[in-house]
């Protein structure tokens, strides 16, 4: 008899489906089109960040500095406009800063061969510190008149769908195209699966690693712009929050193993949906903050434990070395 095997993606999808059904049946006001849109809208930024993290994790790395890329360059845009610079000039400066930041990350990891966890931990602190010390007057950078019109990136609707969801969808399509349809995407999978074999076969692995971090930083910056537009300000203190753990959760929960080479955009979407459903349902039920954390923790633990029961580790997978 063939043993039933589920991978993590399917388990998480099952958990999501069960939760979704339970909420739909027992929670009045959950399964309405408006609420579904709100659900997605609330996790759109998290989802975009998940995409950035996915690219790096598939390439067998991790980017802890993602929240700094989310907070600092968009914060810089708001600050520069507040100080009287034009919006295009500010945006250009922010994008250049983001690219420079991604290049530093990539260089440290690909050429200086610093482990990605430590390299990005340090550079993230550096960028956030730079922002706090030199770029911003206050932690919360407020919207100013010069930004008029730009809030449409995160507010309002396009064809009845809230803009931030559209932005998430666009990001999904772009990243899916990059990973599945381009040679670079294939290289990222190859490097993530076996970096040494990839190098032997002639894949320019170092430049590709640099590219991963530049793209991740740019997506992080994009997520930050959507977030700033949606709340009309940039709370740069978000760097001190636990958002990065949520991002890693979305990725890992969705089934992109930290050992690299596996998963894709679909996994990020599933992970995001699970988190979104939980948050939305619990908000409707008016569960206290502590209670929400408890529920989140229990669901996540269940998913991880089920996975390790159904897919036990063997020598081969253990050698891949999670973090």
């Amino acid at each position: 008899m063939k043993r039933l095997r589920f991978n993590q993606q399917e388990i998480v999808f099952a958990v999501f489906a069960v939760l979704f059904l339970a909420f739909s049946v027992f929670l009045r006001g959950f399964l309405t089109p408006e609420n579904m849109l709100t659900l997605l809208q609330n996790v759109a930024v998290l989802g975009i960040l998940g995409l950035a993290m996915a690219i790096v994790v598939i390439g067998r790395g991790i980017d802890i500095s993602l929240i700094a890329a989310l907070a600092v360059p968009p914060g810089l845009v708001l600050q520069m406009v507040q100080d009287g610079h034009s919006l295009p000039a500010s945006l250009l400066t922010a994008v250049l800063l983001t690219i420079a930041f991604g290049l530093v990350n990539g260089w440290l990891i690909a050429y200086a061969e610093v482990p990605s966890l430590f390299a990005t931990l340090a550079t993230g602190l550096l960028l956030a510190g730079l922002g706090q010390a030199a770029l911003f007057q206050l932690d919360v950078v407020q919207w100013s008149d010069g930004m008029k019109g730009f809030e449409r990136l995160g507010q309002g609707t396009i064809l009845g769908i809230p803009t931030s969801i559209v932005m998430f969808a666009i990001a999904c399509i772009v990243v899916a195209f990059l990973l599945r349809r381009t040679r670079w995407g294939a290289y990222i999978y190859a490097i993530g699966d076996n970096p040494y074999a990839a190098r032997v076969t002639g894949i320019p692995s170092r430049p590709i690693i640099v590219l991963q971090y530049v793209v991740a930083a740019l997506i992080g910056c994009f997520a930050g712009l959507v977030m700033a537009a949606s709340v009309n300000s940039m709370p740069t203190r978000i760097f001190n929050s636990t958002l990065i753990y949520d991002v890693i959760l979305v990725v890992v929960l969705g089934g992109i193993g930290l050992s690299g080479g596996r998963g894709g955009v679909l996994n990020v979407i599933i992970g995001t949906l699970l988190i979104g459903t939980m948050l939305n349902g619990m908000t409707i039920m008016d569960i206290s903050y502590a209670g929400q954390n408890l529920v989140k923790g229990v669901v996540l633990l269940l998913a991880v434990i089920t996975d390790s029961f159904l897919n036990p580790r063997n020598e081969e997978t253990a050698q891949q070395g999670d973090i």
Binding site: T32, L138, P235
Partner: protein
């Protein structure tokens, strides 16, 4: 008789002389006996300031205000920035106790963490002034907002706006561990106890985070589109609350009450734009001036630290559409820093 006249003449002459001599004496100046000891009491003294973090309107405003008031008197003004890290803050306070500044100005992250340390500081002869968020230990002075009053006034305004409407309100709390949030909630409860007709459809903590506040408010508004008011606990976070109300097209229909330090961009501008209907300001520059006044008084009094204890609760400025345009309702950080 003649003698009498003579005496009178002499008297008049003496008086006249005295009248001439009087101004001559005044030209020499008169020493005011108290200003010198005052100056001596301040010169060279160190005032240490430990906020929960710099880089936000409240703590930057207090810093600028204190600096402006104290440095001209030769007071050394030092700052320790724990950047939201309670442990780092406790370490800063501990090391300050051994450095023995004359005064410590402390912004507590919660009620318990610094309480014992502050008591020790006053026993060691350091005056402790607590600002805006007090600890369980009552020190020489507390200068700051009365959170219970803020909760009460915000809720009263929301309840009033709800009259004749659905009577459904939502509460967006700060961080659960913060005393300011818990006290404000108490104020909210005080008012709600008197108004049983009001139904709280959601009361959740958004962790002082605008994005979380927006997410919660969006969901609540979708479930209760007839919501008539929201009590928010801090304007920096309630930008998100207001953004959700605006996106739902309910600006003006849902009354948003919040509170904050009254910085122009964060308070008056947002009231003007209609994002907030009421923003209770605890007017940071006035608070800074009161702190500075208290420091001057304590240092010149020579009182033993911890022997006298008092409070200065801030008079709140309610910012509404009526006064949001005025020059005095809000303050500019850039001006205060000049």
């Amino acid at each position: 008789m003649k003698r009498v006249i003579r005496t009178a003449k002499i008297l008049v002459a003496t008086l006249g002389l005295a009248a001439i001599a009087g101004p001559a004496l005044a030209q020499k100046g008169l020493d005011e006996p108290f200003q010198k000891p005052f100056k001596e009491a301040l010169t060279g003294k160190t005032v240490a300031y430990v906020p929960v973090a710099m880089n936000f309107d409240l703590t930057e405003g207090w810093y600028a205000g204190l600096k402006k008031e104290l440095e001209p008197f030769g007071v050394k003004f030092e700052i320790r920035d724990p950047n939201w890290n309670t442990n780092a803050g406790a370490q800063a306070v501990t090391s300050l106790i051994s450095e023995k500044p004359a005064v410590m100005v402390i912004h507590n992250p919660d009620v318990q963490t610094y309480a014992k340390l502050l008591q020790r500081a006053e026993n060691e002869g350091i005056y402790v002034i607590q600002i805006n968020m007090g600890s369980a230990y009552r020190s020489s002075a507390f200068v700051g907002a009365n959170w219970i009053e803020i909760g009460e006034k915000d809720t009263e305004a929301v309840v009033k706006a709800c009259q004749g409407k659905s009577n459904k309100i939502a509460i967006v709390q700060g961080a659960l561990s913060a005393a300011a949030s818990a006290y404000t909630l108490k104020g909210v409860e005080n008012v709600l106890a008197k108004h049983p007709e009001i139904k709280v459809v959601s009361s959740q903590a958004a962790d002082w985070d605008a994005a979380k506040a927006k997410a919660i408010t969006q969901t609540v508004l979708k479930q209760n589109p007839d919501l008539c008011g929201i009590v928010g606990f801090w304007d920096g976070m309630d930008i998100g609350t207001a953004a959700a109300v605006k996106e739902a097209g309910l600006t003006g229909k849902v009354f948003v009450a919040t509170s904050g330090g009254g910085e122009r961009k964060g308070a008056c501008e947002l009231v003007k734009s209609g994002a907030f209907d009421l923003n209770l300001s605890y007017d940071v520059p006035t608070q800074a001036a009161q702190m500075a006044g208290t420091i001057k008084w304590l240092l010149s009094s020579g009182a033993k630290p911890g022997s006298i204890k008092g409070s200065e609760y801030t008079t709140l400025i309610p910012i509404t559409k009526e006064n949001a345009d005025s020059q005095t309702a809000c303050w500019n950080l850039s001006d205060l820093k000049k």
